[in-house]
C-alpha cells in the first residue's frame, strides 16, 4: 500500500507544533525508517498513520484515499509497540488471535492462522504461556505475530528492539527483515538507533523537531548528508568535525589550503565552515591531500582494528588503524584524508556547500564490478 502524508501538522499544547508541516511518501512494499532522537515526533507521526492521533491539519492518504477520519480498526494496519503491549491475561495464542477475533473470523480458522503466524516467528512451543512467562525476545515475537496475523496492508514498528539486548537485537533485525521481504508488506520503523535504520530500511527519513531533515536511501544519507545534523547522526563511529573557512574557492583548515572551486555549489561562497571526515576515510601517514597531525589521547582496541583518538588543536579526531601497530597515548602522529572524501557544511546554516558526490563514481572507485562482476550490475546503486 502506498502511503502519503501531506502537510501534516500536529500540536499537543496549541503553542508549539510537535509535527510541523510534514510531507512523506512511502511506496508500496517499501521499508522505511523514521529516525531521530527522542522527542522529535517520530512516534507521533506513526500514531497518526495508525489513526490513534488525528492530525490538526494536512492529509494522510492510503493508496490515494484520504483516511484522516478512518478509525484505527478500519485501517488494517499491524503495529508492534515499544512496550510490546501484549494483553497480559491472555495466552500467547489468544494474543495473536485477538485481531482475528475482532474481525469475526471463525474460531477454527482463527486458531489455525494464529498458529501459522506464531510459527513464522518460531513461537510454537509457547502458545499456551502468558506473556509474563516469556523473555523479552519472545514477547517481542508475540507482538510481531499479532501484528502480522491479519495480513495488514501496513506494518508499523515503534522502537521494537530497544528493549532487547545486543545479540537478540541483531537476531530480531534479520528476522524482521526476512519477514518483511517475505510478506512484501509496506513497513514503517520508528527508531533512534541509526544502525538499526541503516541495516533494515530501504529509505530513511531523518527527523528533527517535528520535521524531516532528509529522506533518502541509507547509502545516500551516508555519502551525501544534506546538513550537519544528518552527518552527525549517521555512521558509527560518528563523523569527525573540524572548523575552517572557505575563501575564494580555497578551504583553509589548520594552516592547510585545499582548492574546492568546481565542487562548490555556489562558486562565490565565502565564510566559516565545518568540515566533516568519516573515521573510515582517514589513514595514518601522508597519502591523502589533507594532512594533519596531533597527539594520541586514547586507543580503543576493537580486534580487527584500533580506534585512535587524536587531539588536533582542540578537536578530537577518531579513526581506524591497523590493530597491530604499537600506538600509545602521548605519541605525535601524522594522518591524512582525501579532499574528495570531505563533507563541508556552512558554519551558520549547517547546510552542505559542496555538490553531491556521485554514488556511481564511488562505486567505480571501489571497483565493485571486479569484486562482484555479475551481481553488482543487477543491484540498485543504492
Amino acid at each position: 500500500m502506498k502511503i502519503e502524508l501531506k502537510n501534516i501538522t500536529k500540536s499537543f499544547d496549541k503553542k508549539t507544533n510537535t509535527i510541523d508541516n510534514l510531507n512523506l511518501s512511502i511506496e508500496d512494499g517499501e521499508f522505511i525508517a523514521l529516525l531521530g532522537p527522542s522527542g522529535c515526533g517520530k512516534t507521533t507521526t506513526m500514531l497518526m498513520i495508525a489513526g490513534i492521533y488525528k492530525p490538526d491539519s494536512g492529509d494522510i492518504l492510503f493508496d490515494g484515499q484520504r483516511v484522516n477520519e478512518v478509525e484505527p480498526k478500519d485501517r488494517n494496519v499491524g503495529m508492534v509497540f515499544q512496550s510490546y503491549a501484549l494483553y497480559p491475561h491472555m495466552t500467547v495464542l489468544d494474543n495473536i488471535a485477538f485481531p482475528l477475533k475482532q474481525q469475526k473470523v471463525k474460531k477454527e480458522e482463527r486458531i489455525q492462522r494464529a498458529k501459522e503466524a506464531a510459527a513464522t516467528v518460531h513461537l510454537e512451543q509457547y502458545l499456551h504461556r502468558k506473556p509474563g512467562e516469556l523473555s523479552g525476545g519472545q514477547q517481542q515475537r508475540v507482538a510481531l505475530a499479532r501484528a502480522i496475523v491479519k495480513n495488514p496492508r501496513l506494518l508499523l514498528l515503534d522502537e521494537p528492539m530497544s528493549n532487547l539486548d545486543e545479540r537478540l537485537r541483531i537476531e530480531m533485525r534479520s528476522e524482521i527483515s526476512r519477514l518483511q521481504k517475505k510478506l512484501g508488506i509496506t513497513t514503517i520503523l520508528v527508531t533512534h538507533d541509526q544502525q538499526e535504520a541503516m541495516t533494515l530500511a530501504d529509505r530513511i527519513a531523518v527527523m528533527k523537531d517535528g520535521q524531516i531533515i532528509q529522506y533518502d536511501t541509507p547509502m545516500a544519507l551516508y555519502y551525501q548528508p544534506e546538513n550537519l545534523y544528518v552527518a552527525r547522526f549517521i555512521g558509527t563511529p560518528p563523523m569527525n568535525f573540524l572548523h575552517g573557512s572557505v575563501n575564494n574557492g580555497i578551504l583553509h583548515l589548520h594552516n592547510r589550503k585545499l582548492p574546492l572551486e568546481t565542487r562548490l555549489l555556489t562558486k562565490s561562497y565565502n565564510g566559516d565552515v565545518i568540515v566533516g571526515i568519516r573515521p573510515h576515510d582517514i589513514q595514518l601517514g601522508s597519502h591523502g591531500d589533507l594532512q594533519l597531525e596531533g597527539t594520541i589521547q586514547f586507543v580503543e582496541t576493537i580486534g580487527h582494528a584500533k580506534l585512535i583518538n587524536v587531539l588536533v588543536g582542540d578537536t578530537m579526531i577518531r579513526f581506524f588503524t591497523n590493530p597491530f601497530l604499537d600506538l600509545v597515548p602521548g605519541m605525535n602522529i601524522q594522518f591524512s584524508a582525501n579532499s574528495s572524501d570531505l563533507h563541508i557544511f556552512d558554519g551558520k546554516t549547517e547546510k552542505r556547500i559542496l555538490k553531491k558526490k556521485d554514488l556511481k563514481a564511488i562505486r567505480k572507485s571501489n571497483a565493485v564490478n571486479q569484486i562482484l562482476p555479475h551481481a553488482a550490475d543487477s543491484k540498485k546503486s543504492g
Binding site: 490513534i52 480498526k73 478500519d74 512496550s83 503491549a85 491475561h89 475482532q102 491479519k150
Partner: protein
C-alpha cells in the same frame, strides 16, 4: 536486657500509639459486644449473665424472618448498584471522557454526597419523595394534575436501596477509575489497532485489569452494607412497620430505643459472625489468596 530495649525502642515508640488506638477502639468493642451478648443488660446497666437467652429470644422473635429477608434484599441490591454503577461511572470518566478536567468535574460531583452530612443527604431524599405537594416528585405530578403519592410508604425499600446505592457508587468509582488509569496506554492503542470496539476493550482489556479492585470493592461494600443503617434510620427509620428494618438497624433499635443492650449486642454478634463467614467464603470464591501471593516473575 539493655540491648534488647535498644533494638525495640524505635518500633515501640512508632507503633505504640497505633496499637493503643487499635486495642481501645477495635479490639475491646468486639470483646465487649461478645460479652454483652450473653447478658441481659438494660438501662439499669447491670451485668447480669443470662447464658443463651438472648439468642433464644432472637430465634423466637416474630420479626426476625422479615428482618433477615430485608437485610438480604437491601444488601444485595444496594451492592449491585454500588459496584456496577461505580464501574459505569469509572468507565465514563476515564475511558469515554478522555479530557481529564471534564472527568474530574464529574467525579467530584459524584463525590459530593460523601462530603455532605448524612442528615442533609437523607433530608434531600425525604424532600424528593415527600407525600405532600411540596415534595419534589409530587410537585411535578401536580403540574400534570396527578394526585400526590406517598412513595415512602408504597416503595420504602426501593428508596432505601437507591439512596444507599447512589452514594456508595462513588467509592467503586474512585477505586475503579484509578485502576483503569493505571492500565498502560499502549494496551488501548494496541487494542485500537487490532480492531477492538468499545465493548471488546471493556471486556478484554479493562475488566481483566480491574479484576482485583472489583473483588475488593465487592467485599468491602458487602461488609459495610451489612453493618450500615444510618440512611435507613434517617429516611424511613425501618418503617413503615418494619418494611425496611435490617439487622444492623434492629440492633440499634433494640439497644438504643428499647435500652436492651444485651439483646442488641447479641444481634450485633450475629452480624459479626455472618460478616466473618461471608468474608471467608468470598476470599475462597474470588481466590484472594492468589492476589496477595508474590508474583512468579521478577
Amino acid at each position: 536486657m539493655r540491648s534488647s530495649w535498644k533494638k525495640w525502642r524505635l518500633p515501640v515508640i512508632m507503633l505504640g500509639p497505633f496499637l493503643i488506638l487499635v486495642v481501645i477502639f477495635y479490639f475491646i468493642p468486639v470483646i465487649l459486644t461478645a460479652i454483652l451478648a450473653f447478658t441481659g443488660m438494660d438501662s439499669s446497666m447491670r451485668w447480669e449473665f443470662i447464658e443463651l437467652n438472648n439468642f433464644r429470644k432472637l430465634l423466637a422473635d416474630p420479626n426476625i424472618g422479615l428482618i433477615l429477608k430485608n437485610t438480604v434484599t437491601y444488601v444485595l441490591f444496594t451492592l449491585v448498584i454500588n459496584v456496577f454503577f461505580g464501574f459505569i461511572l469509572a468507565l465514563l470518566t476515564t475511558y469515554f471522557i478522555r479530557w481529564e478536567r471534564t472527568s474530574l468535574f464529574f467525579r467530584t460531583i459524584w463525590m459530593l454526597p460523601r462530603i455532605t452530612p448524612p442528615v442533609v443527604y437523607a433530608l434531600l431524599w425525604i424532600w424528593f419523595f415527600d407525600p405532600s405537594e411540596y415534595g419534589l416528585l409530587n410537585s411535578i405530578r401536580s403540574l400534570f394534575g396527578l394526585p400526590p403519592v406517598s412513595y415512602l410508604t408504597t416503595q420504602p425499600m426501593l428508596i432505601i436501596i437507591l439512596a444507599n446505592g447512589l452514594i456508595g457508587a462513588s467509592f467503586g468509582m474512585i477505586i475503579f477509575s484509578s485502576a483503569i488509569k493505571s492500565i498502560p496506554r499502549d494496551l488501548f492503542y494496541a487494542a485500537d489497532v487490532d480492531g477492538a470496539g468499545h465493548l471488546s476493550v471493556i471486556k478484554d482489556i479493562i475488566f481483566p485489569h480491574i479484576r482485583w479492585p472489583f473483588m475488593f470493592v465487592t467485599i468491602w461494600q458487602l461488609l459495610s452494607l451489612l453493618t450500615s443503617y444510618e440512611y435507613i434510620l434517617l429516611i424511613t427509620d425501618g418503617g413503615p412497620v418494619n418494611a425496611t428494618e435490617v439487622l444492623a438497624l434492629y440492633s440499634y433499635h433494640k439497644a438504643f430505643q428499647n435500652f436492651e443492650y444485651g439483646y442488641g449486642s447479641a444481634i450485633s454478634l450475629i452480624i459479626v459472625i455472618i460478616a466473618f463467614f461471608i468474608s471467608l467464603l468470598l476470599w475462597k470464591v474470588f481466590g484472594m489468596g492468589k492476589m496477595i501471593r508474590p508474583t512468579r516473575i521478577e
